[in-house]
Amino acid sequence: MSGVLLPRRQLIARAGGLVAAAGALPLLSGCDAISEAPAVRKILSMGEEMNRASQRALMDRDALAREFTRADLSPVFRSNGTKLPDGAAYAAHAATRFADWRIAVSGLVARPLSLSMADIRAMPQRTQITRHDCVEGWSAIGEWTGPQLRRILEAAGVKDRARYIVFRCADRIDDALYYESCDMVDALHPQTILAWAMNGAVLPIANGAPLRLRIERQLGYKHAKYLTGIEAVASLDHIGAGKGGFWEDRIDYEWYAGI
């Protein structure tokens, strides 16, 4: 989740302005013009598919992200993106310590579920100390506790047609609530958990209280915070603008964020 973002239109306008002022900087504006050309974007985007395919080929389906010890924890775990969701509804939940918070499990499942935080904490738990990597380049190490997503999906009975899991969130950024998605390989991965605790304490609001996703082999923007729903779908075409995630739809971050 990037801190400073320019709207795409503004970027294009700026690139256009540079092309107009091309006298002094022909190469640079040329690069921007090339960068915006649809054919070039299509070719460059092949890199994402090559990265996804090659990483999946190289790594075991259940290959684990490195787990660290408590001695390795970041002294301060940086929070990013939304630090406090707007709105009276979230504030009311926070005031009651999320006693009435519910997570809906829906879509292509045999048994839709509505889980309370007590339900989540009553499930078998996994604790892992892992590194969080932001797309911007920084990393922080934290300890996370929560049930594996696969157990929740098993309880709901995900149908064979489901190919992706979509995560719905309570934090609104500009025009929409945050959302993310992953394929079934990452959804069923042993380290993919819904964390309600961080560093041995209840998850702070800045880090996604009451529940956030940990998807340890991908970058930070995939780790959806303030979870309200989990949806099994056959295609991402009708999720947001169709690229599978909030930033993917808005500023073209790659959907596969393993690199």
Binding site: R14, A15, A21, C31, D32, E48, V76, S139
Partner: protein, 287 residues
């Protein structure tokens, strides 16, 4: 070797100037790889600086973020731009940390727009350029390594002979370079010791280092190949090494260009396009 140089051949009528001797110096794979790399490394550097701008701080170890101590940072105060190495801060207003773009607007990104792809801040686009050309770089390097090992380029051209390892020989070569006294005649057809060492260092040292430290920054690759983290001492150490090695490649590029200019740019560039190199004639009385 030109016939005229051989002592067995009776001297022909001596022309005013001996005909230039041309040698086939660069085979096709070398020429293709050279020019593909010229483009690839430029794109990777400039898009890499864009990615760096997203978080212009470097750390050692497994983790590192804003609350942690950075050994290197580019930043801005209220009215200046600066670069900080450890505790030493150098003001760089106008170039790094605070600069003015083509429209006269003041910016506080670390590297200026003229040095990045794209020109204005766009992390997603910078990453797309970087991660696509990473494949070009890696595939090109792998193919070139195989070709130069099996095809004899390493054995014939890059292999450092025993005599060349002598400190005296290396020192003489350094002195010759410092005096801008480049090999002529037959000696110019071969790489000298400093050239050999720098080409070997780039092909088998710096470029693989760039690729593997780059891979170490990928959370997916760290799961697939956990030894990467042990090799470089963590993701943030790998990021720091990646940054340093990038500037070593820039240094190589600058020296490389300087040497081409001093050694005769037209002849050098022509040989990297067509393969044929004209040997500079021997100096008077040195043949």
């Amino acid at each position: 070797m030109a016939e005229a140089d051989s002592p067995d051949v009776p001297p022909a009528p001596v022309p005013e100037k001996p005909a230039p001797v041309r040698v086939y110096r660069h085979r096709l794979p070398t020429r293709i790889w050279h020019w593909v790399n010229a483009v690839t490394l430029l794109v990777m550097l400039m898009s890499g600086l864009m990615i760096f701008n997203a978080h212009p701080r470097l750390y050692w170890g497994q983790y590192g973020a804003n609350p942690d101590r950075a050994w290197f940072a580019i930043g801005a105060t209220a009215d200046t731009g600066y670069v900080r190495f450890g505790e030493t801060r150098i003001e760089t207003t106008g170039v790094l940390g605070r600069w003015t773009d083509a429209e006269g607007e003041e910016k506080t990104w670390a590297f200026p727009g003229w040095a990045t792809i794209p020109t204005s801040y766009d992390l997603a686009a910078g990453r797309r350029w970087h991660l696509f050309f990473a494949w070009v770089l890696s595939a090109g390097l792998a193919l070139y390594m195989v070709w130069s090992l099996l095809g004899g380029h390493v054995r014939r051209d890059l292999h450092v002979r025993r005599a060349e390892w002598s400190p005296r020989h290396i020192w003489d070569d350094i002195k010759d370079h410092a005096r801008l006294r480049f090999p002529r005649g037959e000696a110019a057809a071969r790489y000298n010791i400093l050239q050999k060492l720098s080409y070997i260092g780039v092909i088998f040292g710096l470029l693989p280092l760039m690729i593997f430290t780059g891979l170490t920054m990928s959370p997916g690759m760290d799961a697939a190949w956990p030894w990467l983290l042990d090799l470089f001492g963590g993701r943030q150490s790998a990021r720091s090494i990646h940054f340093i090695a990038a500037w070593l490649l820039v240094l190589f590029f600058l020296v490389h260009i300087l040497m081409v200019i001093l050694a005769g740019p037209i002849n050098e560039v022509r040989s990297m396009i067509g393969g044929w190199f004209t040997l500079p004639p021997e100096r008077e009385g040195e043949a």
